[in-house]
C-alpha cells in the first residue's frame, strides 16, 4: 500500500495545530505556507511559546512595584535589591521531557533556566527545584526520581551553581505526568541588564555556543500536547544537555556583555533558532534575515526545517553593535565556542531565511508574535470541596503511630537522599540550605552583608480542593517562608502546571488559581516578575492535580539578623503565633492517616497573614527572636517535630485535651512557632500588635511529648523521618 502524501492541512494537525489555526495562518498570509513556514508557525503558536490559553488571565497578576526593574515578558524578571544591584530570576517547567527521559529532561531543564538568567546579564548564584512524582508504588516512580535527581545534580553541580532548596511531593495524580520545575536566581548590576529586543536594522546577528544538531526537534510542540500510550516514542524530541558547554557559555556571555559589544541577546530555548530570532526581531519591531548555511551544524545535510526546529542546548543568539564582531570572535575563541555571524537585522518586519542560496521562508513577524492566537477558552467554575467541622474528626487513638506515620510519609520524610546529591556550597556564599534547618535557602550577596532568601511552594492538595484558595495559599506560604527567616519578600516567579485547557473544568482551575494567586500577590505587595505555563499535563485524559508553583525571593538587609528552626535551646519557651480554628479539610492528617482527600483547604485571610508575618519579621529584625518555623503540612505537631530534630533538643507541648486534634494537626494559615527565652516580652509585643500569641510548650529533654498523651524519643522520630526515602530508593526493582 502506498500512503498518500499528507496535505499541508494534515501536516498542521500533526504539528499540533488545530484545523482552524491552519485556516488562520492561510488567512494571515493570504497564501498557503510552505512546510518550513508551517513548522515555524506551529512552534510559535504552540501553547508553550504563545501562552494562547493563559495570556489574558496572566494579565491579572500585579507585575510592577517600586523594586521591579523588569516584569514578565523577558527571559527573566529583574528586581532591585539596592546598592546598584539586582536579582534576576525565573522558574520554568521541563515536565514532558523529564517524564520521557528523566536524566536529560531534568538536566536540560536546569540548563534552560540558567540560560534565561545569564542571558539578562546576571551570574547565576542559586538553583531550586520543585518536583512532583507519582505514587511511590507506581512501577515507574522510582526510576523517574533517580533519573530526575541525578540529572538536576549532574547539570547544576558541573556548572557550579549551588542548589539551595525546593520541594518534592508524591501523589498518584502525577503517575502519568511528573512535574520538574526548576528555578534559577542570578545577580547583576542594576544598570547592566541585557534585553532581547533588537534595537535597530543593519546589525550583525551572531550565533554562538554548541552546534545545532537534530535533537529536540519539535520539543515545544511535544510540551504542548497530552501523552498517550505511545509517548515513549517521543524520546527523540528530548534534548541532550552538556553542562560543560553551559559553563563555558556563561563565562563567554558575561565576558561578551562586559566588553560592551552586545546590543541584544537571547538564548535558544524552546523552539530554538525560530523563537530566538522571531522574538528578537519582533520585540524590536525590526526584521531579520538569516543564512542557514552559516549556522554551525553538528551533523551533515541538515535541512532548513531541522535547523529551525532543533532544540539543541547551550546556544545563544546575540545582536552585536556595529564593528564589534572581532571582539566577539576573540572571546568565543578563548572559551573554545563555535560562533558565526549568520544574518542581519532588517527594517522589513519580516523573517527571511535563506538556505543553499534560495529563500526558503519569508514571513511577516506580527502573526508569529503579538498577533498569535489569544484564546478566551470557556471555563466552568470549580466546585470547592465542602468545609469539614473539626469536631467531626475524632482524635487519634494512638498519637505516637500517627506522628511517626506523618513524619515518615513520602511528602514529609527527609529528602536528604535527594539534596545530598546537589552541590549546595559551591560559590562559598551559602548560609542556609536543606541541611541546616530553615524555612528558606539563604545565599549571601557576594561581598556584602545582604543575602537573598529563596523558596518554592505549592500545596497541590489545597489547589485540587479549591483552586482559588489553593492559589492564594501557594503565594501566602512562599511569603511566610521568607518571612520566617526574617527576609523581606520582594517578588515571585510562577510556574503554572495544569491539564488540558480545552477542557472547561481544567480551564476553570487555571482561571481560579490565577485569581487567587493574583489576589494574594496584591495583598502582600508581592509582584510576579516572571513565569512559565505548562499545560496539557495529561495522560489518556487524566489530568495532574492543579499545581501552580510559586518561586519566591526575599531580601535580608543584614544576614546577621535572621532566623532558622535549628537553634532551639533547652529551657526555651515555645510561642505559637496566629489563630488555630482547626482547619482539617484537605490536611495531611486526613490524607495519610484517614485515607480521605475531602474537605475545604484552610482559608487564607490575607490581612491576617500580613499582620502576623510583619510582626514576626519585625521581631527577627530587632534581634528579639532567632528560632522560627512556619506551620504548614501537618500543622503544629510537624513544625514542632522539625524544630526538635533540627535543634537536637526535645520539646513538650502543653495543649488542652478538648481541642488537641485541631491544635496539633490543623493546618490553619498565618501561623509560626517561635522558640524564645523571653516569652513575656514576645507575647506582650504580639498583644500590642493585635497578633494572637500563646505559650504552647517548652524545650527540654530528648523527646517530643504531650504529657499524658505521648512521648516519642527524638532518635525514634529521626529514624522514621530519615529512613523512608533511602529505603524506598534502594529497594531492588522488581
Amino acid at each position: 500500500m502506498i500512503a498518500a502524501t499528507p496535505t499541508l492541512a494534515e501536516t498542521a494537525l500533526a504539528y499540533g495545530l488545530k484545523a482552524e489555526e491552519y485556516d488562520l495562518i492561510v488567512q494571515r498570509l493570504n497564501r498557503e505556507p510552505n512546510p518550513l513556514e508551517l513548522g515555524v508557525f506551529s512552534v510559535m503558536w504552540s501553547e508553550h511559546c504563545s501562552y494562547k490559553s493563559s495570556r489574558r488571565h496572566l494579565a491579572k497578576f500585579p507585575t510592577s512595584g517600586p523594586r521591579v526593574i523588569q516584569g514578565p515578558g523577558e527571559n527573566a524578571g529583574v528586581v532591585d535589591i539596592g546598592d546598584g544591584q539586582a536579582v534576576v530570576f525565573k522558574m520554568e517547567s521541563h515536565n514532558h521531557p523529564s517524564f520521557i527521559e528523566p536524566y536529560q529532561g531534568a538536566a536540560t531543564g536546569v540548563g534552560g533556566i540558567m540560560r534565561d538568567v545569564f542571558t539578562m546579564g546576571a551570574r547565576p548564584i542559586a538553583l531550586l527545584n520543585a518536583l512532583r512524582f507519582g505514587d511511590p508504588e507506581h512501577p515507574r516512580t522510582r526510576r523517574l526520581v533517580a533519573g530526575v535527581v541525578a540529572g538536576i545534580g549532574g547539570y547544576g553541580n558541573c556548572v557550579g551553581v549551588p542548589t539551595l532548596g525546593g520541594e518534592t511531593n508524591f501523589h498518584r495524580g502525577y503517575d502519568g505526568n511528573i512535574l520538574v520545575n526548576a528555578m534559577c536566581v542570578g545577580l547583576a548590576d542594576a544598570d547592566k541588564i541585557f534585553y532581547s529586543a533588537a534595537p535597530a536594522a543593519g546589525l550583525p546577528v551572531v550565533y554562538f555556543g554548541s552546534r545545532t544538531g537534530r535533537d529536540g526537534i519539535h520539543g515545544a510542540t511535544m510540551a504542548s500536547a497530552e501523552f498517550d500510550a505511545d509517548s515513549d516514542e517521543k524520546r527523540p524530541t528530548v534534548q541532550v544537555g552538556d553542562p560543560f558547554a553551559e559553563k563555558l557559555l556563561i563565562e563567554a556571555t558575561l565576558e561578551l556583555m562586559a566588553s560592551g559589544a552586545v546590543a541584544a541577546i537571547q538564548d535558544m530555548g524552546a523552539a530554538g533558532l525560530t523563537s530566538s530570532s522571531v522574538e528578537m526581531a519582533g520585540k524590536g519591531s525590526v526584521g531579520i534575515e538569516l543564512d542557514l548555511d552559516l549556522v554551525p551544524q553538528r551533523e551533515a545535510d541538515m535541512s532548513a526545517y531541522e535547523m529551525m526546529l532543533s532544540e539543541s542546548q547551550e546556544r545563544m543568539l546575540a545582536i552585536l553593535k556595529p564593528g564589534r564582531e572581532a571582539e566577539g570572535r576573540r572571546i568565543f575563541d578563548k572559551w573554545g565556542l563555535d560562533a558565526a555571524t549568520i544574518g542581519r537585522t532588517t527594517d522589513t518586519g519580516r523573517i527571511v531565511l535563506r538556505h543553499h542560496g534560495e529563500v526558503v521562508c519569508d514571513l511577516p513577524l506580527a502573526p508569529l508574535t503579538e498577533d498569535a492566537p489569544n484564546y478566551d477558552r470557556p471555563w466552568t467554575a470549580p466546585l470547592p470541596q465542602a468545609y469539614i467541622d473539626p469536631s467531626s474528626i475524632l482524635p487519634p487513638s494512638d498519637w505516637e503511630s500517627v506522628i511517626l506515620k506523618l513524619i515518615s510519609c513520602p511528602d514529609m520524610a527527609s529528602k536528604r537522599w535527594i539534596w545530598e546529591q546537589y552541590d549546595r556550597h559551591v560559590m562559598a556564599d551559602t548560609l542556609e540550605d536543606p541541611a541546616t534547618g530553615a524555612d528558606a535557602g539563604i545565599v549571601r550577596v557576594h561581598g556584602s552583608r545582604k543575602a537573598l532568601a529563596l523558596t518554592s511552594d505549592c500545596t497541590p492538595r489545597y489547589v485540587s480542593a479549591d483552586p482559588y484558595e489553593g492559589g492564594k495559599q501557594a503565594v501566602a506560604e512562599a511569603w511566610r517562608n521568607l518571612t520566617a527567616v526574617g527576609a523581606d519578600p520582594i517578588a515571585i516567579t510562577d510556574n503554572l502546571n495544569f491539564g488540558n485547557p480545552e477542557r472547561s473544568e481544567i480551564m476553570g482551575q487555571i482561571v481560579r488559581a490565577i485569581d487567587g494567586m493574583a489576589e494574594a500577590c496584591r495583598a502582600l505587595d508581592f509582584p510576579v516578575v516572571s513565569g512559565n505555563v505548562s499545560l496539557y499535563n495529561e495522560t489518556n485524559g487524566s489530568a495532574i492535580p492543579p499545581t501552580p508553583t510559586v518561586g519566591a525571593v526575599g531580601l535580608l538587609a543584614d544576614y546577621g539578623r535572621r532566623a532558622d528552626f535549628a537553634s532551639l535551646r533547652d529551657g526555651d519557651t515555645l510561642v505559637l503565633i496566629g489563630e488555630t480554628r482547626g482547619a482539617l479539610g484537605a490536611s495531611l492528617y486526613l490524607r495519610e492517616c484517614l485515607g480521605r482527600e475531602d474537605g475545604a483547604p484552610p482559608p487564607v485571610d490575607l490581612a491576617v497573614e500580613r499582620r502576623n508575618g510583619d510582626f514576626v519579621r519585625d521581631r527577627i529584625r530587632s534581634g528579639g527572636v532567632a528560632t522560627v518555623h512556619d506551620l504548614s503540612d501537618g500543622g503544629l505537631i510537624m513544625a514542632a517535630a522539625d524544630m526538635a530534630l533540627a535543634s537536637g533538643v526535645g520539646l513538650t507541648l502543653d495543649v488542652p485535651q478538648e481541642d488537641i486534634t485541631s491544635l496539633l494537626l490543623g493546618e490553619d494559615q498565618a501561623r509560626y512557632l517561635i522558640g524564645t527565652n523571653d516569652p513575656e516580652s514576645l507575647v506582650s509585643k504580639a498583644r500590642a500588635a493585635g497578633v494572637p500569641a500563646r505559650r504552647i510548650g517548652h524545650a527540654a529533654g530528648g523527646s517530643l511529648s504531650v504529657p499524658q498523651m505521648f512521648s516519642i524519643p527524638l532518635e525514634r522520630l529521626r529514624r522514621s523521618h530519615e529512613a523512608w526515602m533511602p529505603t524506598y530508593m534502594e529497594m531492588a526493582a522488581v
Binding site: N157, C158, G160, F244, A245, K247, H425, T430
Partner: protein, 220 residues
C-alpha cells in the same frame, strides 16, 4: 604571600579559592588561565581549584593535566613551591603524576555533598602547621569521584612516611584507608577532596579551611 589560582575550562571553585586565600591570609591572588605558559614570578602557593575541568569528560582531570600551564606547575612543584589541588584539583594532580593514586567513582555511585569531620593526621606539614595541636577539622565535600585508590604498597608508603594529611572520620565515598588528603614525598604538593575554600569563615559552617591557607603563609 603571593598565590595563584589556575582556571581551567570548567573550573567552578576558582573564585572561591581566591576569596578564601585572600580572607584567610590577606595574600595577593592572581588568576592564571590554563592556556598560559608562564606563571607569575615569586609564587608561594599555586592552587588547582575544584570544578569539572573539561566537563570531567574522558576521566576527571585527565585533559586538564595536559593543559599548557601544567608544565609550569610541575616545574614550580619541583622547585618546592607549595601546590594545593582541591577536589578536581586533586584529580588533576593525580592525572599529572604529581601525586600517586587515583580518584574513582564514589562507592555509593552517587555525587555526595555534605559536611565531613576530618582527622588531621599529620600536623607537621606545610599545609597543617597552623592547626597547632588540633587534630580535628570540619569541611564539606562535594564530589562524584572522590574515592581515593592506590595499591597497597603505595598506601603503606603514604602511611609510613606520614603523607596522609587528612582522613575522614566517617568515610563518605569509599576512599582507601579513609584518605581525604595526601602530600607528595617532598611535602610541598597537597591533594585533598574536602573543600577548605568553602570553610574559611564561621558563617559558612566552619573556618577550619582558613588554617590550611594560613599554614602555607607561615611557611612562605
Amino acid at each position: 604571600m603571593k598565590a595563584a589560582v589556575v582556571v581551567f575550562p570548567g573550573s567552578n571553585c576558582d573564585r572561591d579559592c581566591k576569596v578564601a586565600i585572600e580572607r584567610s591570609t590577606g595574600a595577593d591572588v592572581t588568576m592564571v588561565w590554563h592556556g598560559e605558559t608562564v606563571l607569575p614570578a615569586g609564587l608561594d602557593l599555586i592552587v588547582l581549584p575544584g570544578g569539572f575541568s573539561y566537563g570531567d569528560y574522558l576521566r576527571c582531570g585527565a585533559m586538564a593535566a595536559l593543559s599548557p600551564v601544567m608544565s609550569e606547575v610541575r616545574a614550580a612543584a619541583i622547585r618546592g613551591v607549595a601546590v594545593a589541588g582541591i577536589c578536581n584539583g586533586f584529580q588533576i594532580l593525580c592525572e599529572a603524576g604529581l601525586l600517586p593514586g587515583a580518584l574513582l567513582r564514589n562507592a555509593g555511585l552517587k555525587y555526595v555533598c555534605k559536611p565531613v569531620k576530618l582527622e588531621v593526621t599529620n600536623l607537621q606539614t606545610r599545609f597543617t602547621a597552623a592547626f597547632g595541636s588540633r587534630r580535628e577539622a570540619t569541611m564539606t565535600v562535594g564530589n562524584g569521584e572522590g574515592n581515593y585508590f592506590a595499591d597497597d604498597a603505595t598506601l603503606d608508603r603514604l602511611e609510613g612516611e606520614g603523607r596522609i594529611v587528612f582522613r575522614y572520620r566517617d568515610n563518605p565515598n569509599g576512599s582507601a584507608r579513609s584518605i581525604a588528603g595526601i602530600v607528595n614525598d617532598k611535602g610541598n604538593v597537597l591533594g585533598m577532596m574536602p573543600h577548605p575554600d568553602r570553610a574559611f569563615e564561621g558563617e559558612l559552617g566552619s573556618s577550619d579551611g582558613a588554617l590550611l591557607f594560613q599554614s602555607v603563609m607561615a611557611s612562605a
